[in-house]
């Protein structure tokens, strides 16, 4: 019944899709076509003429041009291997576009590399020429949700909040290579950038003659070194400067780590402090009680171990002071080096009545600590003096009795307290650095004066 069918069905597109090589119909330059059938527009790298592939495979000149070729950070047709969600992914640069925006009369240009893999689609690699930063983008499978209410404009996507950074008009200034859509020099798009470093959400609106679309792109900061490695490029990536929009804040990096480190350091400090206190002998090297103001001391004593430093503590106790003071001048003269260490301690007691309130002040048993005293034999000299309030200013109190105690190898408080504050200072220091870094980032945003 049925007529004889041709021997084989056509089986459309079962054959391998081929790359192409053609000469530019405008300037004759060689053009390689690597975008397969997906390409809607080709811009000759040499003359910039806008060409459209016809169904026959030929290129038709849409708009002839004679622009100079620009040197982009990456060449057309370079291939790279990027880390994707399910392992390494290969991409090829098939199109290059330069865009720019103007803020307060200043032009900020960037280069956009269209990366293509026929099975994975397109990715966008952006190189910001003003600060040398890179970002890798991909169309979002979904729509971010604009937060309603007061305060800073935000969008939410997949439970993450992104803060509005800037809104600008991006203008195409240069086109080279293949694109699956039409791109023309002068094309404008309004781009809204929302950030949560190292990620940004870009909302870009564009209109053409037969419709409008809005594109949601998720961008991720990528180090120039990572780009260089992905493309296996020799040498170094362009130098960076300043803080890019979604550059990760190095001082915020591991906030948890800062706290864990702080806890570890505090524990270490506590252990060290206990060990330090425990290891002090507090040995009394000299002690004398019941001294009057006319008694002076001059006595040879042994302090510490020769060749080691020690911390001395001098306790001065004065009893019988009443609106009076007592002063002990202490001199330690090394019998080995003849170097002297001198210090003094003042005990005092003041009291009275003013405004119907009685008051009392003054320390009658001061302590003086002297650090880094070399061990050895010393001549200890103590010369006391004393005085009273009022008319008897130069007369020492009659019932003044003093006691001196000198200890070696004592606890030096600052050895314990200083490290504690230094440890506590670290998180504050990093918090400050992080704030300064954010300030630099946001100084390029639409919100120059505030970062919150």
């Amino acid at each position: 019944m049925a007529a004889q069918a041709p021997s084989a069905p056509r089986k459309l597109f079962r054959e391998e899709a081929q790359t192409g090589a053609i000469n530019c119909p405008a300037c004759g330059g060689p053009i390689e076509l690597h975008g397969f059938g997906a390409v809607e527009q080709v811009n000759c790298p040499y003359c910039g003429s806008e060409l459209a592939p016809e169904d026959s495979g030929d290129l038709q000149v849409v708009q002839a041009a004679q622009r100079a070729r620009r040197e982009s950070a990456l060449p057309l047709h370079a291939r790279c291997t990027l880390q994707g969600d399910n392992g390494p992914e290969d991409y090829e640069v098939i199109g290059i576009m330069w865009r720019e925006c103007r803020v307060d009369g200043v032009v900020y240009p960037w280069q956009e590399f269209l990366l293509y893999n026929p099975y994975l689609g397109y990715r966008y690699l952006m190189f910001t020429m003003t600060d040398g930063s890179w970002a890798l983008g991909q169309t979002l499978d979904g729509a971010p949700q604009l937060e309603t209410g007061f305060g800073h404009r935000k969008v939410t996507f997949a439970k993450e909040k992104y803060k509005h950074f800037q809104t600008s008009v991006a203008i195409v200034s240069y086109v080279e290579g293949e694109f699956p859509w039409q791109v023309r020099v002068g094309d404008q798009a309004v781009a809204h950038d929302f950030i949560k470093p190292p990620i940004s959400m870009s909302i870009e609106e564009a209109a053409t003659e037969d419709g409008q679309d809005v594109n949601f792109t998720k961008m991720r900061h990528i180090d120039g070194a990572e780009v260089w490695k992905a493309f296996k490029l020799p040498g170094q990536p362009p130098r960076t400067s300043g803080v890019a929009m979604i550059q990760p804040n190095p001082y915020k990096k591991g906030r948890a780590i800062t706290w864990i480190l702080l806890a570890v350091m505090l524990v270490a400090w506590l252990v060290a402090a206990i060990a330090y206190v425990d290891g002090r002998s507090n040995k009394v090297v000299f002690s004398e009680t019941g001294q009057t103001v006319t008694d002076t001391i001059s006595q040879e004593i042994e302090i510490g171990t020769k060749g080691e430093l020690t911390t001395l503590e001098f306790d001065f106790k004065a009893s019988g002071l009443s609106n009076a003071w007592a002063y002990a001048e202490v001199m330690l003269i090394s019998q080995d080096t003849e170097k002297a260490v001198g210090f003094g301690a003042t005990a005092e007691e003041w009291h009275g009545v003013s405004g119907g309130e009685s008051w009392r002040e003054g320390d009658q048993s001061p302590t003086v600590t002297v650090g880094k005293v070399p061990g050895g034999t010393y001549l200890l000299q103590i010369a006391p003096s004393a005085g009273q309030q009022g008319s008897a200013a130069n007369t020492p109190p009659t019932n003044l009795r003093m006691a001196y105690t000198l200890r070696e190898n004592v606890v030096l408080g600052r050895y314990i307290v200083l490290p504690f504050f230094i440890i506590l200072g670290f998180p504050i220091f990093f918090w400050l650095l992080a704030r300064i870094y954010e300030g630099r980032r946001w100084s390029n945003s639409d919100y120059v004066s505030s970062s919150s």
């Binding site: 019944m1 049925a2 007529a3 004889q4 069918a5 041709p6 069905p9 056509r10 089986k11 459309l12 597109f13 079962r14 054959e15 391998e16 899709a17 081929q18 790359t19 690597h34 975008g35 397969f36 059938g37 997906a38 390409v39 809607e40 169904d55 399910n86 290969d90 293509y116 893999n117 026929p118 099975y119 994975l120 689609g121 397109y122 169309t139 979002l140 499978d141 979904g142 729509a143 971010p144 949700q145 939410t156 996507f157 699956p180 859509w181 039409q182 909302i203 609106e205 053409t208 003659e209 037969d210 419709g211 409008q212 679309d213 809005v214 594109n215 949601f216």
Partner: protein, 233 residues
């Protein structure tokens, strides 16, 4: 499943394997478009102007969407002023059908729903603005694309008669959780009763689509493990 009567291409006599509710078929031997109305088979002519737009999908590609296997049975190619995209007609193993949208490397699988789901609850095409939010079937979604496009060509089978050159109006929306919706207003943009297609954005690897087309200089992704042969087989 109901036994389908054997049909043949009125032009070349080759088998014309209409399946299920398919209405239109492009003969893969002679490129004729054939339309089935009831038991009648009508030859529309050799009008399909399908172009190679670089899609990695081919007729016969199989995958699995939310646990249900499917096979790509047809393609509708749609063109607008600055580009083209593909709507692949898919048959699910449970007898239902759907569409695998393929636009510039972005993919989504949708299923047609009754017009009552949106009738009167969405604005007419002419009043829809991109980046506005519309609630579709209880889910808020953002309008990401709104344009008039023409049917350019087709291959395989389709569930309706798609006349090349026909201008239709479509709106695409994306939800906040990856949902993807299309509203097909057809040829008339001034009504508020489009056909809704509801589904979600996908990646080809996620649905294990295989086999895929071969591209010079590119390694074809390995078939999904579940669909592969047993070791040593």
């Amino acid at each position: 499943m109901q036994e389908q009567p054997q049909t043949h291409c009125p032009n070349c006599g080759a088998p014309a394997p209409f399946r299920g509710t398919a209405v239109s078929l492009v003969c893969e031997y002679c490129n004729s478009t054939i339309v089935r109305r009831g038991v009648d088979i009508t030859l529309i002519g050799q009008v399909s102007a399908l172009v190679d737009n670089g899609s990695p999908i081919i007729l016969g590609s199989r995958g699995r969407f939310k646990g249900t296997p499917f096979e790509v049975a047809g393609r509708l190619q749609v063109a607008y002023g600055r580009g083209s995209w593909n709507e692949w007609f898919v048959n699910f193993a449970d007898g239902t059908t759907g569409w695998l949208a393929d636009a510039q490397g972005q993919f989504a699988i949708t299923r047609p729903k009754n017009q009552q789901v949106v009738a009167g609850r969405v604005p007419p095409y002419a009043n829809i603005a991109v980046n506005s939010t519309i609630v579709i079937d209880g889910i808020p979604a953002v309008v990401v694309d709104r344009r008039a496009a023409t049917y350019k060509g087709a291959e395989g089978i389709l569930p309706f008669e798609a006349e090349p050159g026909m201008l239709f109006h479509g709106v695409d929306l994306r939800g906040h959780k990856g949902e993807f919706f299309s509203l097909d207003y057809g040829t008339n943009p001034n009504h508020n009763s489009p056909i809704p297609y509801l589904g979600e954005a996908i990646k080809l690897a996620d649905v294990g689509l295989h086999p895929l087309r071969q591209f010079k200089g590119w390694r074809r992704p390995a078939p999904p493990a579940a669909a592969g042969r047993a070791p040593g087989a």
